[in-house]
Symmetry: C2
Subunit: 261 residues, 2 copies
């Protein structure tokens, strides 16, 4: 059996079902490369009685897929993934290959930034437009800004995920991202719009702040993972949420509530 288990962001995000499946597994791979996780030590404490491996990209992708599927045909193999195990597309090839080979697959879902970002800020999930990743590849910036324009034109919010390259110890920060976005903003509409900076969402030192995009780079954020939401049209209740959940400065709040930005 192949068991894909989402870890959420920190140890306490484990579901009861995840704990059960981890306890029942014969072999455990801990994905250490697709995202940043707060607390590997408690996780290792939980699995230490069994065969486990801190797994890099080479252990879980490409040629490793058929090896893991073969292993899962004989043992209970658990793959532990930060966040939800399948919201990023990384491990879908592994799942499909297992099903194709007749190996049973269980998915144990975990908390994902995709919903947490809305739940924590109070912005409305049903107004989420296309989600997009801003990468270090400069060509992506234009693509991202166009996606934001398109979402804004339809009144929709954009969740901008910032590049993470765990294996290179590299992750984009909100100030870096703001600089890239404003440089690529040919229409010059983003600077004076409100945006939300989200740092270490769901970690114990989570930091969320709303401000004009042009000011969003000026805050002292804890280390990545970072992401940004660029809201589309705002319901009055969302404006309250930005003020009370996301510390929107009072001056900006008053302009926004008064319809002056």
């Amino acid at each position: 059996m192949l068991i894909l288990i989402g870890l959420g962001m920190k140890f306490d995000d484990l579901t009861l079902q995840a704990v059960d499946y981890i306890r029942g597994a014969d072999v455990v791979y801990i994905d250490t490369y697709t995202n940043i996780y707060e607390d590997y030590s408690k996780l290792i404490e939980l699995v230490k009685s069994k065969k486990y491996k801190l797994a890099g990209r080479n252990d879980l992708e490409g040629d490793s897929i058929s090896r893991i599927v073969e292993e899962a045909s004989r043992w209970n193999v658990a793959i532990l993934v930060p966040g939800d195990p399948l919201i990023a597309t990384t491990h879908e090839a592994l799942r499909v290959e297992a099903v194709r080979k007749g190996v049973k697959v269980v998915v144990v879902n975990g908390l994902s930034i995709a919903t947490l970002a809305f739940s924590r800020t109070g912005l409305h999930f049903y107004k989420l437009g296309r989600t997009i990743t801003l990468t270090y590849n400069r060509e992506s910036a234009e693509y991202v800004v166009n996606a934001i324009y398109d979402n804004i034109s339809r009144g929709l919010h954009t969740l901008v995920l910032l590049d993470i390259k765990v294996e290179e110890s590299k992750a984009m920060s909100i100030p870096e991202a703001v600089e890239i976005l404003l440089e690529s903003d040919k229409k010059g509409v983003l600077g004076e719009r409100v945006a939300v900076g989200i740092a270490r969402l769901g970690f114990s030192n989570e930091f969320i702040v709303a401000d004009l995009t042009e000011n969003l780079g000026n805050y002292a954020y804890p280390p990545p993972p970072h992401s940004i939401i660029i809201p589309g049209d705002l319901h009055f209740m969302e404006i309250e949420s930005l003020r009370y959940n996301c510390r929107l400065p009072i001056g900006v709040y008053e302009k926004l509530a008064g319809g002056r930005i």
Copy 2:
């Protein structure tokens, strides 16, 4: 302190953090009206040593908000909500009012259909366009179909949530929804597109199936909650996922993989 706790869909979806906060609460409200939850009995077992209430709309909205905030200024008050506590907009007014009154608020996130629907099917979350609810109000059907058209024109997927009125013991089924959608499909484009029917997502009797929309009403689904995804453009890996995760019939799969629909 006000603690908003997401339950996910079933008891085993509780996170370790949720269990801790429920154990530490003085007063517990269990939201029984915003969504369907598989397993109230185990939850009541967990909270039974303290003051708890199965809460309807009147207990948590409108005039009750200031009463609960006042209670939370003196005690640890936990509100237990199926799914994630804030992905629907229902309880946001309660949170904002608490923060406004200086009462500490903790959000303990839970699994949400918004991400599970993508994680389980293998469709790509980053291609999710605007999410929309199909209600029993017939006027909503036209709005929903237009949102689907708009998403399709951008290559994006549409998550269609189906109406649930728990307090009236009424919930829309996939066959009902398919009939409404096809009737409102003025352009006649939906029938021969592939769609995914998702019943009791995350429950122990979860049932997911992909087929042409015009055939999607013909399956024997377990009872609601139900929802539907209408995909936009499909990556070849997503087509594999529809076949291997969602039982897309082989004939439809071959047409789809061959670019013939």
